[in-house]
Symmetry: C2
Subunit: 446 residues, 2 copies
């Protein structure tokens, strides 16, 4: 007989759980036969005493099979995931670039919560864009169009939804094996042959240190490989927002500009790096470098943008939006924050910029909040930039009734979120710290 | 604002909780504003990362004040608690002996669950005996009669009831600080000036090693002293049942015999040791040794037995029972287990004897089970005794419909619960391993 306290006691004492014990537990969580307080006790024991490689894979597997799974049996189906940050809008650039190079890209994306924005929220700034698809529609779209974007569904890995909600209120979020199982159970259920992971670290990311990010990267790669998926992980910098725009419509516009070759350098660099990885994992180029080259070409020749237009049109949005930016809702009022002195911008309190966007209605405090697509912030200066007194540092996009919030944000930005010093720092974290590619032996198609 | 996950995170990371944080948490647990899963997560974090002396005292205090508290303001009110074991019936001997020597003894006792018997169950073998008193009755009885016995009430430390139920199903029982707070919150709420603790270790106790028992003893003494209570703790052996009788009526009879000077030596020795401690803590003798002497005298001159008769009569039982044992329910059938070979009895699987008694109906598997007072086991041989093939090792008292259970018990006893070897072992644990007395300075009344 299965007696939950016995399983809990094993992990409590630092022991190792068997695959069967983990499976039984996840089954009990999913069907409600194991109580939330027993799950909470186990989660805390796992948080403190950890899970080894095998246990993490078993937990991932059990969570993955707690709901529907897809299987495309197609080596060119490659998925992409980012652990999230501020101004992280790469999906809308990477997916079309990769698709333009023959990769099939199934995107099941999340909504924003906390200081990070959500891919689904951003795309919904395009009037009419449908993100609520059935799994059948999703598979159909992918096979026909090569790229599809859908909001998270309770059909995939329902155990994760339950466990995540419990972790959120029991202080058991930031555990490497639990994060691994949460991300990977959903990604694996999507049935891709390979997964490209952007793991962000820094004061705007969930992993605050590079060390934590590297640990998570190792854990994710090990888990992916144990399920026979090609894996690429990049550790990237999130100590300042990615690109210049923060806010739903603003970020979409920045993506369109980037696909036209006129985007911020950091955003373009990271996008082609990750898209190149997808192209490589899909077997469409022998090397990652070759993949990056192809992605750059798709950016230059407009085939990436064309792919995005196709995606928008196919999911019932107006594809003209990629050229007519006034089709997107944008707040009428702008407030420019000026540099109080000359010098170098040496530090950005990245997470706070995400929170400012939330305060303007561009993000959510609770899941039921409605998003204001038109508000946000635009950074004219970034880390290392020279500034003159009176230069515009940041533009705030806001609505009529938000003057008080704006003045609060302004004073916070000037007081602590942006630091200007006489001398420039000698070094900043590199945007792409490290990239690791692990291919499942004998499975590459080229 | 009070945000439970922040408190949980502190203990999860091995930090120290403030008295205010602990108080808020216990308050939230008691009034239901903190969920069971958050409590479970905190309990697991406490189990693994521990609580220091101050935190343990704060938890005890918060749990104590979660309900009613009594305060007798009387230095002669001394309480007694045992962590429980098999055949542990000392309360019925200690309390009258101490009361006969001028100690006031408030007993709030538990029912049996698991392999240990409960004091309240045992005394209820006496027809009519009332254990369901109100707190007013309890205080009144104590002041007038000097000794009173009541079943546990939800009025005292209700937070403990909730937390204990949660610990039971989340594998967080065996934690020294949590056990300390559980025991001490109830004992302190009873308002005694001093507490005598019998902390048992061994294969029939909740603490399996002497080391664990000593740790618990230290934690309990520290906590008691921080509440200005005189404390005596003894670490005692529970690697074999105490005395010879296991089962409700059988144990009561053994107590009556002991109060007449005809009881088993181990039971008498421990009883006068603990009663002597109570007499000393109450200020009725200058030393513990002096207290033991007084307790022995009360045993010899029959004043202890007289006190027990008074207690029984006062709580509506028939006091004649102490002489007319047939007033107690006793099972009609006896089965004698005979020694299969000659040698020395070197080992008793103590816990199993408790479980055998439960299997015969003498204890509970779930709280709603009804007790059969008349069944049980009597050990004719104990550890170190010389036995001859064919000697009676144990007598089982059982009912007509229990023949199958009896034959199962017999084969288990012969196969593993009693081990007979050719040679006697050279050493066995001493009954009373260690006793520590800590008096609150300047408060002794003699």
């Amino acid at each position: 007989m299965f007696y939950p306290p016995e399983i809990i006691a094993i992990k409590r004492d630092g022991g190792t759980l068997s695959e069967n014990q983990i499976t039984q537990f996840v089954k009990g969580i999913t069907d409600g036969s194991i109580t939330d307080y027993q799950s909470a006790a186990l989660l805390m024991a796992i948080y403190i005493n950890g899970l080894n490689k095998k246990e993490t894979a078993a937990l991932t597997k059990a969570m993955m099979f707690s709901g529907a799974t897809m299987n495309f049996n197609d080596p060119t189906v490659i998925d992409k995931h980012s652990t999230g940050g501020v101004g992280d809008k790469t999906s809308f650039i990477i997916a079309p670039l990769a698709a333009a190079c023959g990769v099939k890209v199934p995107m099941v994306a999340g909504r924003g919560l906390g200081h990070t924005g959500g891919t689904v929220d951003k795309i919904e700034a395009i009037k009419g864009f449908q993100t609520q698809l059935t799994l059948e529609d999703f598979q159909d779209h992918l096979i026909k169009e090569g790229v599809v974007l859908m909001g998270q569904t309770g059909d995939l890995a329902p155990a994760d939804k339950k466990l995540y909600a419990l972790r959120d209120v029991t202080a058991t979020i930031s555990s490497i094996p639990l994060i691994t199982a949460s991300i990977m159970s959903k990604k694996l259920a999507e049935g891709a042959a390979g997964i490209v992971m952007d793991i962000k670290w820094g004061n705007g990311a969930f992993m605050e240190t590079k060390g934590q990010a590297k640990k998570l990267a190792r854990s994710i790669v090990q888990t992916g490989l144990s399920f026979n998926r090609h894996m690429m992980v990049s550790i990237t910098d999130m100590n300042q927002p990615l690109g210049n725009a923060i806010g739903n419509s603003l970020e979409l516009i920045e993506c369109f500009e980037t696909l036209k070759g006129k985007g911020p350098k950091d955003l373009e660099e990271l996008s082609v790096h990750l898209a190149g990885g997808m192209i490589h994992l899909a077997g469409k180029s022998k090397t990652h470098k070759g993949g990056i080259k192809k992605a750059k070409a798709a950016l230059k020749d407009g085939s990436g943008l064309a792919c995005l237009k196709k995606l928008i049109a196919h999911q019932k949005g107006d594809a003209k939006v990629v050229d007519q930016y006034d089709l997107l809702p944008l707040a009428k009022n702008k407030k420019e924050i000026l540099a109080p002195k000359s010098g170098y911008l040496t530090h950005i309190e990245c997470k706070n910029f995400g929170l400012h966007c939330v305060a303007l209605g561009g993000g959510r405090v609770k899941t039921s909040d409605k998003i204001d697509f038109g508000t946000g912030l635009y950074l004219h200066k970034k880390r290392g930039d020279k500034v003159k007194k009176g230069d515009v540092l940041t533009t705030i996009y806001f609505n009529d009734n938000q003057k008080e919030i704006v003045s609060e944000i302004e004073s916070q930005i000037l007081q602590k979120d942006i630091i200007i010093k006489n001398k420039n720092k000698t070094s900043y974290p590199s945007l792409i710290e490290e990239t690791k590619i692990s291919l499942v032996a004998g499975e590459m198609s080229c």
